[in-house]
Each structure stands twice: as C-alpha cells, then as structure tokens.
C-alpha cells in the first residue's frame, strides 16, 4: 500500500467541483460502509456474549456468516480505494481532514435515518465539535 502524492505543491489545475466530487465519493462510500457494518454487528448481537457462549471461533463465525458484514466491508474497501484515487489528484492535507471530519457528520445523519439511532442534541453537538476538531488537528 503506497500512496504517491503529486509533486505539485497545490493541484491548481483541478476544478474545485471535481475535487469536491472526489471527497464526496470518499465520504459517501465510507459512510455506507460504516452504516452497513454497524447494522451487521447489531443484527449479530453482543459479541462478548457470543464469545462467552461459543468461544472466539463462534464469534468469528457469527461475523463471517453475515452478508451485511461483507456488504459493509465491500463499501469500506471501496472507500479506501476512492481515498487512494483522491490522494493521487489532491493533497493529503486537504483530503485527509476533509474526509475524516465530514464522515462524522454524515454518519450522524445516516445513523439517525438508517440505524434509527437516538441522535439527540448531545450527539449532534458532539459530532459537530469532533468534526471541527479533527479538521483542525489533521490539517
């Protein structure tokens, strides 16, 4: 796994809309992957309980026999490759923080809509704070 960054200091030749589309692709695929993975783990049930009942092998089997889990991993892999693709055209200092922080907010939205998680004011505030924080820290 090697990431070759463009030699140019700033990819000024890239249309900002194209750059936004590349980042959006990373954010959307990773959100889809995270939500599917989370749904898979919720449908499997508490892994600690499963492990207590049927051992580590039983827990691994429970995960590896879930189609939802593989759908999630597929999208996470897709997110990884779209990140590599974006890094080939854009700078790491833009793509890294932008995708990491935006994903937190899209996950809060997707978690509320698709996983029916109770995203209350506290969780919204936390998603936004961590989003801005990750951007500042990774930038």
């Amino acid at each position: 796994m090697t990431i070759s960054l463009p030699a140019l200091p700033l990819p000024s030749t890239i249309n900002p809309w194209v750059a936004a589309a590349m980042i959006a692709a990373v954010v959307l695929t990773s959100t889809t992957g995270e939500v599917l993975t989370a749904a898979a783990m919720k449908s499997i049930g508490d892994l600690d309980v499963i492990r207590a009942h049927s051992g580590l092998k039983g827990a691994i089997r429970a995960v590896l026999t879930s189609p939802l889990f593989f759908a999630g991993v597929f999208f996470l892999a897709l997110a990884f490759f779209s990140l590599l693709f974006a890094l080939n055209h854009l700078n790491l200092s833009l793509v890294g923080p932008a995708s990491a922080s935006l994903t937190l907010v899209t996950n809060a939205v997707a978690g509320k809509i698709f996983l029916k998680e109770n995203v209350d004011r506290r969780r919204w505030a936390s998603a936004v704070l961590v989003c801005v924080g990750v951007y500042l820290l990774a930038h």
């Binding site: 783990m41 704070l129 961590v130």
Partner: protein
C-alpha cells in the same frame, strides 16, 4: 433516564479502538517511508513490505482495531463509537507532544480541545439506543443484580 452501563472491559475495548487505529497508521506510514519507492510494475515488493517489522506491527494493530471496533459496534451505537475513535487522534497528538517533543500549533491545540469536548458530550449520554422490545430482556440478561428503575 437511559444511562450507559458500560463495563470496565467495554471501556477497555473503546480505548483499544481509539488508540490502535492511529498507532497502526503511524506504524504503516513509518514502515512505508523507510521502503524504497514501490511501483505497480513490481507488486512482489509489496508482499516483501508486509514482513518488515514496522509494517507487520502496523497490520497487527489494524487487525486489532477492526476486531475491537466490530465488538464495540455490537453493543454500542455507531454515533457513540465514532467520536470515541476520534479521541485517538488526541491521544496520539499528546504522545507526540510529550514523548517525541513535537511542537503542536495553536490550531491543533484548538482541535484537541474541541474533540475532547465532543467526546465528553457523547460519553455522558447513553451508549446504545433503547429499543422497547429488546430492552427488557437485555437488561435482565446483562445486569440481573442491579435493580433498574423503569421510567417507561
């Protein structure tokens, strides 16, 4: 009021989620930076890279991350686990500051503060969305000793 009833073991797993991802990434980055440039024309060199110490350690940490992340998702909400994961960046930044004596800009300190605040917010709330159907049996199964005050 729903409270979160995480066991020490579950806190340990959240801690592993937070710390293993950024540590694993750093190991991979350190290992790959030490390698000669790899091109797609010689994919075999990538396989050789897997067996160098830093990259092997990075992969082991990331496997550990994924296992503990999946475990956490099996008993906590996605919107609870993700801010916890982000807290790992703070730990790494502080390690870099006090262990490796790297300078941290004002901007990064602001980022550390915001992430810490955000994680503090989410940690005060429930870790799992209460679902009426599964609720009764689950709390009975998990904590038979603790008398739950039902508000519903």
């Amino acid at each position: 009021m729903p409270k979160h009833s995480l066991s020490p073991r579950q806190y340990l797993i959240l801690g592993l989620v937070a710390i293993s991802a950024p540590l694993g990434d750093s190991c991979l980055s350190r290992g790959m930076a030490a390698m000669p440039p790899i091109t797609l024309a010689h994919p075999v060199s990538l396989i050789a890279a897997v067996f160098t110490p830093w990259i092997a350690l990075g992969i082991a940490l990331l496997i550990g991350f994924f296992a503990s992340y999946l475990t956490a998702l099996s008993w906590a909400d996605l919107t609870f686990v993700l801010p916890a994961t982000a807290f790992g960046y703070v730990i790494i930044a502080l390690l870099a500051r006090f262990w490796l004596h790297e300078a941290i800009s004002l901007e990064r300190w602001a980022g550390i503060l915001l992430i810490t605040l955000g994680v503090g917010f989410v940690a005060q709330g429930p870790s799992l969305t209460q679902r009426p159907a599964a609720d009764a049996e689950e709390s009975a199964e998990r904590e038979p000793a603790v008398p739950e005050v039902e508000t519903r």
